[in-house]
């Protein structure tokens, strides 16, 4: 009989309807709705509502706050090796943990040190790095660092210690090079799932001479969450919690120099992006050069691409920053800078 139409059927039916306009003419009144022409805009269009969540996640229970993640750098335990080389030692463990991603929805995450993203590991070029990794979760995991290091320190299943079994430990050890902004993540297979579950973090190697001083340094790790496990992201965010910097704008001052370490580790979608409102920034791809490659207000990154942004605000006020894949923006990857005079 009169089947309920899907949109596709509906469109086909609309074409049939045009053929049937002879019939429609017989019934002028009934035919009014039978148009396949574009509809007019509604006259009551207003711009009031904005996407967002109701309420706020429990940061205390989550064990981390995205605002704190912005400025939380782990420099490790520092000592000096006999040859004079600086040694930095870090402790990282993988933990299964439920994280409240959006109010009311807990995601059964896998984390490094109980947070998403994992600790921002920071060192200087030429330092010797030791990462004491212990697998406190119920699955085999690893830590794969982007950078230059020997094969057995690559953290993949096929070389060195391979995957670290639950309860086991391993120390990843190498000299930090090259300077730049990098990242690390679990490299167990299926890789997409291990990354999407939360096993990633930023890895900063400062140049020996350092970068020019700025007033604020902020870490932003872009990712998404597939809460219903259909290999498509349901929510997007910077530092894990969607809309967090909407609800809690990042406060800076007019004229302050801001440096953002931006990392994209988004699974399932091909690209991610960052757009800054009412401003332009110098962009240093991968942070491997001290000379900016571009002066822009939007950058695009595929998974594992990263770069450093430097800017300052000329006027006080509130300014959005968000993925200019606007779909991601409305699903959580949106925030604000609150620029104080």
């Amino acid at each position: 009989m009169k089947d309920k139409l899907t949109r596709r059927n509906f469109l086909q039916a609309s074409a049939v309807t045009l053929l049937g306009t002879g019939g429609a003419a017989l019934l002028g009144r009934g035919g009014q709705k039978a148009t396949a022409a574009p509809m007019a805009q509604m006259d009551h269009m207003q711009h009031g509502g904005m996407p967002g969540v109701v309420g706020e996640v429990d940061h205390g229970k989550n064990g981390f706050n995205p605002t704190d993640v912005l400025t939380d750098f782990d420099y490790g335990e520092v000592s000096t090796l006999p040859g004079g080389q600086t040694l930095r030692e870090y402790r990282v463990s993988s933990v299964n943990k439920n994280i409240e991603i959006v109010p009311g929805i807990e995601f059964p995450a896998w984390t490094f040190n109980g947070r998403i993203p994992g600790p921002t590991i920071r060192c200087t070029e030429g330092d010797h790095i030791r990462i004491h990794f212990s697998n406190g979760s119920t699955h085999p995991h690893s830590m794969h660092f982007h950078g230059i290091h020997p094969s057995e320190m690559d953290g993949v299943p096929s070389s060195g210690p391979g995957l670290i079994q639950p309860g086991d430990t391993f120390t990843y050890e190498f000299d930090a090079e090259p300077f730049g902004l990098h990242l690390y993540h679990c490299h167990a297979f299926p890789l997409a799932r291990h990354i999407a579950k939360g096993l990633y973090g930023a890895f900063i190697i400062d140049p020996k001479e350092g970068r020019p001083p700025v007033d604020r340094e902020l870490v932003m790790v872009m990712s998404g969450f597939d809460v219903d496990f259909d290999d498509a992201n349901d929510f997007y965010a910077v530092n894990a919690i969607p809309f967090h910097f909407d609800q809690h704008p990042i406060q800076i001052r007019v004229g302050e120099k801001v440096r953002v370490y931006l990392v994209n580790i988004l699974e399932f979608d091909l690209i991610n992006s960052f757009h800054l409102h009412a401003n332009f920034f110098n962009y240093y791809p991968t942070g491997t050069s001290l000379t900016p490659s571009e002066y822009t207000d939007t950058v695009m990154q595929t998974q594992a691409q990263r770069g450093i942004l430097e800017f300052s605000y000329k006027y006080p006020g509130t300014y959005m920053f968000h993925a200019h894949n606007t779909e991601f923006a409305e699903l959580g990857w949106t925030g604000h800078f609150e620029v104080l005079p």
Binding site: M1, K2, D3, K4, L5, T6, R7, F10, A13, S14, V16, T17, G20, T21, G23, A24, L26, L27, R29, G30, G31, K33, A34, T35, A36, P38, M39, A40, Q41, M42, H44, M45, Q46, H47, G48, G49, P51, G52, V53, V54, V102, P103, G104, I105, E106, F107, V227, D228, D234, F235, P242, F243, E327, E330, L331, G332
Partner: protein
């Protein structure tokens, strides 16, 4: 008691032992259930993941807002945690509460500036991150019950139900002049029409049954509705047959039963058209309505077939037309203003039962009419012609 037990002459009397044996299984059953609930009976039945089922039964669009009427069709409470519209997370409110008990209903309200004529996909996430989706194929303000929309739905019902059935009735005087063989043919055509309509109604009922919340067992409702109606009508007709009524009176009541069956079928059509209108699918309406008029004119024919040799009053004819066509208006109202899958399934199931019972009655009538002068191929061609008639006119609608 002692002498009762000793008395072999009354072995079937109800005594304490019988009572005990009657009650004992129930007591033991209660005990088993209690034991099972308290200990789990040695089975480990805790679900690895929560089982949730939320049916989005209806969407109501008003300027600047979308309301979703949802029903918890799962075995446990469902809590709505987030609402996503076309790849955007939107603030929402739920009344009476975001936590919805089993089989209860709630309304999710989202302030959203939807645009006329565009399509929207809506997903509600439960607290356990299970998504429940619906789609709004064509957005437009959902008709609210007022005098204007009421009149539009009435008109739709008039066009698809009442008018065509009455048009069919106008053939009455001409058909009265037909000979016996032609009347049998007409009855057979009616049976064919009804078989086709019955299958159509049944398939619609079964399809709709999928939209009924699982605990209400849509398919079961179809069975109950159809079988109960069939046997109720059968019982009524048997009582009439044995009540000493004349054959003419019995044929008249058969005509009324056909009208009732067709009326229930048209109620189903009205429901579907009203519901389609409600979600904007009536864009193909004008053509559809023309098709219905052509198809349903044959229904009027079916109603009068049994009484062609009699002289039913104008009043009877008018009433039959109303019973056969009027329900389309009622269906359009219900479908348009308060679509409800469970109710629709029940109506359609009752329609199925009624139509097939009427086919059975017509079969009896044909048998009586052809008892002295068999005309097997008249019956055969009539039935096939009736079915083909609806199939061909159906080409206009599908």
């Amino acid at each position: 008691m002692a002498d009762r037990a000793a008395s072999p002459t009354k072995p079937k009397s109800f005594n304490l032992t019988t009572a005990l044996l009657l009650v004992l299984p129930l007591l033991v059953l209660g005990g088993v259930i209690a034991l099972f609930l308290s200990t789990g009976g040695g089975l480990h039945l805790s679900a690895p993941a929560p089982v949730e089922d939320l049916k989005i039964e209806r969407t109501v669009l008003k300027p600047g807002s979308i309301d979703l009427l949802v029903r918890n069709a799962g075995p446990q409470d469902v809590t709505i945690a987030q609402a996503v519209i076309n790849n955007g997370v939107w603030p929402f409110s739920v009344s009476p509460s975001p936590s919805i008990p089993r089989l209860s209903q709630a309304t999710v309200h989202v302030d959203y500036e939807w645009v006329q004529g565009e399509a929207y996909a809506v997903t509600l996430f439960s607290k356990n991150a299970l998504p429940f989706s619906t789609e709004i194929p064509v957005a437009f303000t959902t008709p609210q019950p007022n005098s204007r929309t009421f009149w539009s739905f009435t008109l739709i019902g008039l066009y698809v139900g009442v008018i065509p059935v009455y048009l069919g009735l106008f053939w009455f005087p001409a058909l009265r002049l037909l000979g016996r063989r032609w009347m049998v043919l007409l009855l057979a055509i009616t049976a064919g029409l009804l078989v086709f309509l019955g299958l159509d109604t049944l398939s619609e009922a079964l399809e709709k049954a999928g939209a009924v919340p699982a605990p209400l067992q849509g398919i079961g409702l179809v069975g109950i509705g159809a079988v109960a109606t069939f046997f109720l009508l059968d019982a009524i007709s048997r009582r009439q047959a044995s009540s000493g009524k004349s054959e003419a009176e019995q044929r008249l009541s058969l005509a009324y039963m056909i009208a009732t069956g067709i009326g229930l079928h048209n109620l189903g059509e009205g429901l579907a058209i009203g519901a389609a209108y409600n979600v904007g699918e009536i864009a193909l309406g004008a053509f559809l309505v023309v098709g219905f008029i052509i198809q349903n004119i044959t229904e009027g024919l079916g109603i009068i077939a049994p009484v062609l040799r009699d002289r039913p009053g104008l009043r009877s004819l008018a009433l039959m037309g109303l019973v056969g066509g009027g329900p389309a208006i009622l269906g359009a109202w219900i479908g348009g203003f308060a679509p409800n899958a469970t109710l629709a399934v029940l109506f359609l199931a009752v329609g199925t039962g009624a139509i097939f019972e009427v086919v059975y009655e017509i079969a009896k009538l044909i048998q009586k009419d052809t008892a002295r002068q068999p005309m097997p191929f008249t019956v055969f061609s009539g039935i096939v012609a009736g079915m083909l008639l609806l199939w061909v006119t159906g080409l206009l609608i599908k």
